[in-house]
Point group: C2
Chain length 422, copies 2
Amino acid sequence: MKGAEKMSGSEVRRKAKTARMAAKKLAVAEEEKKNEALEAMATALIRHRDRIFSANETDLLQGEKAGLPPALMDRLRLTRKRLEEMGEGLCQLRRMPDPVGEILDSRRREDGLRIEKVRVPLGVIGMIYEARPNVTVDAAGLALKAGNAVVLRGSSSASRTNRALTEALHRALAGTSLPEEAVQLVEDPDRQAVHELITMNGWIDVIIPRGGAGLIRRVVRESTVPVLETGVGNCHIYVDRSAKSAMAEEIVINAKTDRPAVCNAVETLLVHRVWAEKHLPSLCEKLRQQGVQVKGCSRTRALFPQADEAGEEDWETEFLDLVLPFRIVDSLEDAVEHIDRYGSRHSEAIITEDDTAARTFMRGVEAAAVYHNASTRFTDGSQFGFGAEIGISTQKLHARGPMGVTELTSYQYRIHGTGQVR
Amino acid sequence: MKGAEKMSGSEVRRKAKTARMAAKKLAVAEEEKKNEALEAMATALIRHRDRIFSANETDLLQGEKAGLPPALMDRLRLTRKRLEEMGEGLCQLRRMPDPVGEILDSRRREDGLRIEKVRVPLGVIGMIYEARPNVTVDAAGLALKAGNAVVLRGSSSASRTNRALTEALHRALAGTSLPEEAVQLVEDPDRQAVHELITMNGWIDVIIPRGGAGLIRRVVRESTVPVLETGVGNCHIYVDRSAKSAMAEEIVINAKTDRPAVCNAVETLLVHRVWAEKHLPSLCEKLRQQGVQVKGCSRTRALFPQADEAGEEDWETEFLDLVLPFRIVDSLEDAVEHIDRYGSRHSEAIITEDDTAARTFMRGVEAAAVYHNASTRFTDGSQFGFGAEIGISTQKLHARGPMGVTELTSYQYRIHGTGQVR
């Protein structure tokens, strides 16, 4: 065991250090070279698709044997369409502007000293994620576009698929002037490997966990490397007293049913009592017709007795499923207070015809994205025009909301003098 | 003991939660109100100076009894001048633009959805620092200007001074429309109080440690709240083969002797062998005349035998004193490699007449600030034109280098719709 841990340690450390060397080269790589590499990576996914699908087939078989739940099996499954989408994502990145080298600020002091603030890559990104193999390709592409190397630690259930994908990316990079070491896959299944990765200060510049709440909590707790916390979305829609009923219905149904398993789906509905008295039963009924299990507080159930009982636990839950608890509130302030207490600072919406109420809500609610009269489902890198996203940050430091290429950069002050001293 | 810990827990938790309530009010406070508060705080420092000086006197007496080293005693000591400087800092902040509410980006989608990226406060800042009482006032002022509340945990050796300063700030805030709870001082001397503060995710948005390497390491290791790592400065100057000797001498002497105890002072000198052969003895001699202990690698000592022996340990040390180890290198690449290995990513300089060499160095070195032909001493918030600084970040996430008011903000996406769904 001790020996195994030591071996595990050496794989992670070796790969992180190799990535660091590659990052130095990538940091000064020209835009054109990076774009060529992205194109080669996209091509390689198609060229090596047989090998990739066959690896995925084995992972799926193993998953079936291990009794993985259907939702997980679905995430794990690579289809021709999904592989093509990964390739398109890389091509989209190719067309985006290179953020590295952008002059963010420049000032000249009276003594002639010129202080430039220049955008630079973050360096080495440690990515820890579950199941979805597309993260392997997305993360590699986004990191590379921003001049970063990446150390990937995927789920063991997708290990063969991830290896096949990484091999394809390596072959692509081998044909370019960029280092293929820019993409590192940690294959050690030991949990200790994760711990080692997230405590490699000086080698890894940032850790991005993507997955369930348990994974994210563990990384936040154990990591000494700075973390970009992503993803848990306990999102609310507050239907204000002046909301138009048709608009409220359309938005709520979209936010709940369009794709219930994602983090920007709505998880609790807060309804002003005046609106509720008129429109709540009809909204609940329509949700039920869409296959949604409607739950509710006692006031909700007084208006719509078919609702199941909802309480404390429901307010705290990210269902990721066709379940929606309702809570009737007496005021906008009560809605904000509920969100303050239970929200995960991801996406929050108000539906109202009252602009003052909208402004109060949007300024009073702490979340990466706040909406007035629109679905929470828009919190997404490609919807925001970022091309792709490496995750959705729910913390306030560095980046908030969808994180694209720009969010994978830092800056450096470059000071040009002619002998100045203090 | 158990009881005491519990009590300690409740003080920190109570104060952090009170700060959080205050932060919600501050986040929507008008610029004018914040500026009035900053002015009132500056006035209060002068009005209550007798009480502040008397508290400081008691801390100094206690410090003497406890045998605090002279450097620490000096940092602890409040003089009339230092108190006035704190007040001036607050007035400077008053004159700076309010960062909150700035529209950082705005795009309208084809479906009419308008996505605004707006600058907002971070929320509640946890500040953990040693000795210097000016941090109490600087942090409170910077935080408030950016719309944040702050929880301060100073050194126990400055506890009376910090309390007197905080009381003055509270009296000032009590006369304004802003909540005096915006500034919270944790008085519990137990180390456990720090641990509690840095694990209050959801209540504290960021932890900023300011102090020695030990404090910073502990905070980085234990904190589950995102950290802005500050300060350790193992800075280098690399004197390239083409450097002008007069310029090199002036810059090196300034960077070492102007204020040796600060983090932007130079700690190791790297010298190209060709330059060294001609100019190293003269530079070493001049440093000695300034009271600097010159140390060196074997090649340095061959050229300047009076140098003491330097080795591994010296390359790793942030002396914060009049000591300067020299190392002769064969190339710019060797210099960059040395900095990669031993540097703390704070400030690094090259002195050269060769612009290509300067560019290679500045792009190849990982540091918050890289200099060409200027002293490392400029890495400082007020030198950079930020008015004041809450610390100098040596990490790459969120902020790098001197952190002023802007660095104490985050952003939020505000999305304005007319019923859009996906």
